[in-house]
Symmetry: C2
Subunit: 354 residues, 2 copies
């Protein structure tokens, strides 16, 4: 593998000194970019794009051509694992995910196997290999997965939900079955992320999009516990370098300390927390990734630049900050505003790394 | 007015001793009840039901006939004020609110007036008077309003939103106009709630459904500040008794202390907080109302009863707790499960009030 030319991102995740704060964006390869929409058009469906290593690589690289980003993230979906388990993922109108064969019973849960990452999921590993080669050491490549709890919500609900009635019904009334499901998922995610690391991923992130719909008690028992199981089972090395693990739970203001006490290296945080407060709460246990409100990118350039400065000042002097949005970039953002954002992070962060 | 026979709810909001923990449910007059669906059918549209004092009274009382609830809440909608301002509210398919004339410019904001609560909004006051008379002192009646920020989100977006791009765009790029809008709304809510109190409301609640989509900085400047303006402008007396004010921001785990520092008497809290932790954070400044996950009502009776006990134990010994769900009851809940919940609160809470 070619030498890594920009390792700011990996260093920041390990709380090592950097020259300026690294920055990337969740969903940086996405619909706000006209070149993404063109490739997507060419590919067919969203899953067709995920399954085509060349095109997945193309869209992964696109934002790096426009912006001075410090990391690339694998273009894929969090629902690849349940799809590989046989639940038959499709994207209905408006890109809403649906499973044709959701989990409805304890028997359904027992029948689930751990997918072979170089079998049903080989298309993901092929994408990782292709992207890593194409990146040629430009910036590190992030691999990722959904968290067991988040995957379980889609699998039991059969798709997106606002009320989480079915999945919480199973959790409350049949916790044994829910734990079996989550354990199978944790094994699957571990094997999936280890395969991504073997294929070239230099950092991995676990997206717990729906951890924030739980009580603190249920979060610890049904979500965090399985992310810890994964973190403790990962191969943490690639090309002789540590592979950092980032946990991201949306709406995690209530339990940051518990997340920091796992074997992860960094926490993704949304904008409902003051970053300086979050840093005080987690101390030197973990790095922090975040936490700009994605909606600020609708604002004028001066206002975007001002918000970047506010967040940098809130984190303050020293190591351990990766700048990011607190959630994925929205579809209708002007790509010009993203330039303003990325450049502002580099420009204004140097003073905090002297 | 007839004497109040059950004042447990009002006492708990003022942190006075009670014999057992009072309980009510957000959206207790709602679609999970077959008798509600029958009245709604009879009324026509959702707004037809809100505007018919007799029928609004009928649905307000319905849950009290089934359950030993300690409070009634006015049947109405949070969007009555913008509708009265001329934005033309309608409910599209799936009960999704839409405004035919959303706020698109600074000129639109300047043109807004403060509605007369006994003019365009008299139908709400008529409902309060009718319900209060019909309750005949059985339990106290809660009046309510949306918060200025929450109302502004619907007014600027033209309805519901997931991304809040327009309203945050205005907040970021034209904070002066946003403050003008919020101030007009705060004046309107103050006058609206004061009229509800004059018409008979014995407690009032401000629903800040969307405060939780803001950063802590923006929350304090654009949401909390205007709730404080309202709280300080309310007539706090009815029938010689204090009228308590409850603030509810969904997703408020990050700024409970700031909310408790306003002139309110109680905070509504969702289930992403441990109630005992929340109590420790707010001290004896305010009472707490909450905080059971509404999804627990999908579970079996034993599990519901167990969750009630966990929450009561978390709050612990002493005064200042009103039991509630952390959000409105879901539409597909079995009404039988609600009985289990309400009875469990009364049965298991006596030990905490000795």
């Amino acid at each position: 593998m070619s030498e890594l030319k920009n390792d700011r991102f990996l260093k920041a995740l390990m709380r090592e000194p950097v020259d300026m704060t690294p920055v990337w964006m969740m969903r940086q390869a996405g619909r706000y970019l006209p070149e993404y929409r063109a490739t997507r058009e060419k590919a067919g469906s969203f899953m067709d794009l995920c399954m085509n290593a060349e095109l997945a690589c193309e869209v992964t690289i696109q934002p790096l051509e426009r912006y001075a980003l410090d990391a690339a993230i694998l273009f894929s979906d969090i629902l690849t694992i349940p799809d590989a388990m046989g639940l038959q993922l499709r994207f209905a109108q408006g890109e809403v995910p649906k499973f044709d064969k959701p989990i409805c019973s304890a028997a359904d849960v027992k029948a689930l196997g751990v997918p072979d990452p170089e079998g049903e999921l080989q298309y993901v590993m092929n994408a990782v290999r292709t992207i890593r080669k194409e990146l040629d050491g430009r910036v590190p490549l992030i691999g990722f997965s959904g968290s067991p709890w988040t995957l379980a919500t889609y699998m039991v609900e059969g798709g997106s939900t606002k009320e989480f009635g079915k999945v919480k019904g199973m959790m409350f009334d049949d916790p044994h079955t829910m734990h079996t499901l989550l354990d199978t998922l944790a094994q699957s995610v571990t094997s999936y992320l280890n395969a991504q690391i073997a294929a070239g991923a230099q950092a991995v992130m676990i997206f717990d999009t729906w951890g924030g719909v739980l009580t603190p008690r249920d979060y610890k028992e049904f979500s965090l516990r399985y992310m810890q199981q994964i973190a403790s089972g990962l191969t943490r090395e690639n090309d002789g370098r540590k592979v950092p693990v980032v946990l991201f739970s949306k709406g995690a203001a209530g339990w940051l300390e518990a997340m920091a006490a796992t074997d992860c290296d960094a926490l993704g945080v949304d904008w409902t927390l003051d970053l300086g407060d979050a840093r005080a709460r987690v101390g030197d246990k973990v790095a922090l990734q975040g936490n700009m409100d994605p909606s600020i990118l609708y604002a004028k350039p001066e206002r975007i630049e001002q918000e970047v400065q506010t967040i940098l000042a809130s984190y303050g002097q020293g190591n351990g900050h990766v700048f990011n949005l607190g959630h994925g970039i929205h579809q209708h953002i002007d790509p010009e505003n993203v330039s303003v954002f990325i450049d502002a992070v580099h420009k204004h962060s140097k003073q905090y790394h002297q």
